[in-house]
Every structure is written in C-alpha cells, then in structure tokens.
Symmetry: C2
Subunit: 335 residues, 2 copies
Amino acid sequence: MSEEDPAARPPTLSQVAARAGVSLKTASRALNDEPNVAVGTGRRVREAADQLGYRLNGLARELRRGGTSALVGLISGDLANPFYSAVASGAERELRRHGLLLVTANNDEDAEREHELVGALLERRVRALLIVPSGAGPQLPAGVPLVFLDRPPRGLAADSVLIDNDGGARSAAEHLLAGGHRRIALVADLVRTASQQARIEGFTAAMRAAGNADWEPYLRTDVHDAVTAERTVGELLALDRPPTAFFTTNNRLTTGAMRALTGRPRPPALVGFDDFDLADLVGTTVVAHDMTAMGREAARLAYARIGGYTGPPRTVVIPTALVTRGSGERRPPHL
Amino acid sequence: MSEEDPAARPPTLSQVAARAGVSLKTASRALNDEPNVAVGTGRRVREAADQLGYRLNGLARELRRGGTSALVGLISGDLANPFYSAVASGAERELRRHGLLLVTANNDEDAEREHELVGALLERRVRALLIVPSGAGPQLPAGVPLVFLDRPPRGLAADSVLIDNDGGARSAAEHLLAGGHRRIALVADLVRTASQQARIEGFTAAMRAAGNADWEPYLRTDVHDAVTAERTVGELLALDRPPTAFFTTNNRLTTGAMRALTGRPRPPALVGFDDFDLADLVGTTVVAHDMTAMGREAARLAYARIGGYTGPPRTVVIPTALVTRGSGERRPPHL
DNA sequence: TTGAAAGCGCTAACAG
DNA sequence: CTGTTAGCGCTTTCAA
C-alpha cells in the first residue's frame, strides 16, 4: 500500500503532483476541493496521493496561511485532579466543534512553570489560551485571546469563567446555621488564590449576617492536601469544645475531612465545596457546580475572540447548588 | 511595553534584526544562544526582541527543521473518565521532561471519529501517537511512532502498554473462591475490547481451575455504564438463588454495583477491577493498578522511537494488586 | 481549467 | 564574528 520506511520523510505535495502529471497548484486545488479542477484530473491527483500515502503538512499550511495553528492551549493543574480533567473534557468537546485541538499543559501549580508554558504555547502559535492560574496569574504579554478559569485575572481585564464562590459558600454556611450549628469550622486551601478568598468571605459574611462569631476559633487556612485536611480536622475534633460542623472549601479537603470523620460515633456535620464522584453513595452534602461547563464556556469565550469579537471582556459565572445528602443535615449534639 | 494591537501580526525575526541593526541570521543566532555572537550584539538583539514583544514562530522553525513538531498526540476516551485522565497525566509528566507537549483528543469511543483524529494529528505532524483504541484500533498507515495503551493493536506489531488483565481477574476470582463463594456473578463491559476479554477469560480460567461451574448462570456482559450495572446487579440479586459475590470488570461497573448493594441487609461480596477515588473510605476491595504509570510508560516507549530506537516492538505490562478493603471479604450466607 | 512565481518565518550551508 | 543565499511545503497572487 503505502510507503513504510520510518526514516523517509513524508511525501510532499509536489511529489503527488509529479506522479499525477500535473502542476503543484493543481494538485493543491484538487486535494482541497477547490473549484476549477477537471474531474479526471482531480481523480488522478487523489489516486497519486493515496498511493504515496500523502498527508497534508499542517505546519506548512498554517505558516503560509498566517502563522497560526489549529491548537488551543489549556494550562491548568494536574489532570489527575478531577476538577481539571472535567474542565479539559468540557473545553475539548466544545473546541472540536470548530475543528480545534486542545493542548493540555500542567503548570504544577507553580507560577514560574506556568510562565514558561505560556511562552511555549505562544511559540507554537496556539489560537487561544485557557488558563486556570496557579495563583497570581501570568504577566500577560499575549497577543492571542486569553480566558481565565476559576480565578480572575490579576487586575487586567480579560474574559473569564468563574464559579459563584461567594454564593456557594454562603449557602453552605446558611445551611449549617439553619441546622442549629454555631461552632462551625472552616477548613480552606491556599488563601492566595482568589477562589479560596471568595469562599472564605462568603462564609464569613453569612456568619456575620447571622450574628454568629462562635466559628472564629475554628478557622484553618492554607490546608493544601487531603492528608493535611484529615489531620487538621482530627485536631479540631480533639479540642475541648470541638466544632459541631465543618465546611471544607474544595474536593480534596472534603475527602480528607471524611477520612477523619469515618467511624466516629457521633460525627459532626460536613458540607464540602465541589461535588465529587460517589458523594451520593457516601452521603456527603456539597456545594455542587458544573465543572465541565466551565471548560465549555471558556472555550466559547475563546472561540468568540478567535472569530473576531472585540467587545469588552466578558465573565461567565457558573452557578452553584447545595446538594443535601445527609452529612450536612446532622444536628449539633445539644439539639 | 509591548505592542498590543490584536489585529497586528506578531513581529518577525527580521523586524527584530532590522531594529537591532543586524542581519537576520545574526538575530537568529543571538536569540538561539548559538556561539559566535559578540556580547554587545547579542544584547542589542535581545533588547530589540523585548521591545517588539518578539516570540519565535515555532511553526516556521519546525517546518524548516524538517516538518516535525514538538507535539505528541493522545487519543483516548473522554478525560472525564478518571482512567483516561490518569493516563494523560502520566504521559504529560513524562513528555515534558523532553520538551514535548501533549495534545489530547477524545475519540468518543467511536472508531470513525478515532480514524479522523489520527489523520488530524498526523497532519499536525505530531512526533508520536499514543492511542487507547476504541475497540478495533485504527488502520495504521502512520509514519510516526505509535503506542497502544490498554488494548493491544489489531495484529500489527507495535509498542504497547497493557494491564495484567488476566492475572488481575484471576486473583479476584481466586480471592472470592477462597472466601467460600461459588455462585459468583461476573458483570463485564463490552466484550469487543480485548481488555474486557482478557478479564473475563482470567476469571473463567480461575473458576475452571477450581472446578466451579456455579457461576455460569450469573455471567452478564456488554454492560457499558454505571446505571445499567446497577440495574443488572439488582436483577441478579432478585433471582431465586442469587449470587453471593460479584466481580465487576471496571470502575464504572463497580460504582454501579455499589449503588445496587447500598442499604442491603446482608450484602454480597464485591470485588472490582480498577481502583478508584474513595474506595478506601467505602471499603471496596479492588484489583488495583497504576494508571498514571501506563501513560508514563507509553510516553517512554514513544520517546525511545522518537530518539531513533528501531528495535522490535515492546510491550510493557502494568502489574495489578488485589487490595482488600472489606467488600471482597464478606462471606457467603451459609458460612 | 491550469500553471509559474513569490513568499509565509525561519534555519542550514556556505561564504566573507 | 557576521552576512548572503537557498529552501522547508504549502497557499496566494496573477497570468495563460
């Protein structure tokens, strides 16, 4: 069938043209289904291409067409985290509708690495960049459409997709207050990220509005992984007056908290931000939101810019919903 | 600082050269840290590049260098599935060590779409292709290194990374037999995939070796999603003589089975293939294996080929381990 | 309906 | 140490 020598360079359009006995340009026209090609000629060219195993060189095409590829970059944390992979999944699904491919790159939650990646992807002439910033967010000398996810850009105006962090945290807080809790622990991730700040503030605001200050001794921040969360929750429960409820501000921390709570005779209440797999089975009440939709909306914003939209930056806010499954409805001991 | 007109095309190397008052080639040398550039000249070039916000055009470079990009493609199912995202994560981590970027594409578990994707990625001149085939596996007229994951290529010899499906299924079966079970249900996914076949055969072989045929009425295959799995398990449990144990052959099915088992007074035993998040918390015994390692090993095999290795195809087998967490150790009622 | 020439932005090869 | 020339594989003029 086709050539199989791995060392050989792939056949070029002019080889196809030569084989078909036509000019380079005619071959190009035929393979691109452009008008003004005699049917017989077109057939001959296609046959020659098949025989040679010809494959268009996208690099050359894109260079000639203006130096811009069919790629969109996504810079985020590790895809092993279900949040990021859901975002990637949603973005990919949307991009493919426009013939665009997704390049995923892991910033390792490190600002410097992220900066390098921006550079590397821009060199590859991606059409747009979707970024879940690792905190500060990149210094933006971009030249391509930029969309920020989960965390807003640092001051500079840019398209972004955010979760209703404030509202979600508020609803969790109000739910626990309504359940009769006062001593509510707040276990949060790195405060430097805007999303965590918003969740903490939403929670705080709800407490203030309810005139409850009993939670303040139980604030723990910068808890970044499940193991630390488990330990932190354990420590809080060992206090003389332990909290009767917990609010954890992301899926990792919720998981950690659940490990600490497992097997306790009278477990405290727990509400977690972010939904997760099997949460229904284990009965965890969460502030849920559609992570796949985040990726999809980000891709849409990017595609609008690619298509020439030059209006002011837009922000899409993904709503949250409190999903009650049991853990958040446990009452405090004295009730 | 830098130019910000979105319509303007990015600055080129010759613009940088002109601004620095040197020739094109000198600018190229300076920016690529090649030898034989006077320090002063180098500095002037770099300044000019900074002022213009210059960014190398990777398309042009790669075209000139031989038409091959710094991209490696991964074709798999939806990244929302933790199996695929773990593979992607592992592959990305390994590739980046060599300055390669990962392009992820979703085949939607559809052979035709997969075929298109192979074409699209080859056009983009990826350096290698990692494929988790959607069943049959693509007709391979590639020209770039190909690595198959999870499912071996269709006859054609190629590098691949496989799970020890047979051994893993066998160990699950033997574990349940050792627990005193005879009526063991086997709930499997699409039989057309080689990995499912291997799991079913491993299980069957163990039953045969133990002289147990009591499981045969409880074989259910082509159960492809969690909801169907839940229903199937429910139906099996409603039989006059229900099975006393279940073996589910992937994470989705295990999840479905767990939903069906939840709340039952005397639940049957359950062992699932594939580990999953929170399995420890919910006490599910599984046949675990390192999914991230699959991606990593696939990337390694690909990189070896990129580096010029031309030996015979290699197969890496990822081992499995039975992780006992309770669900698989439940005894049959009569014991 | 077809073809010849030019050139996208860069690097390789060879001078100066 | 620096510059000139050519050309990667393709598409875009423009002409036949």
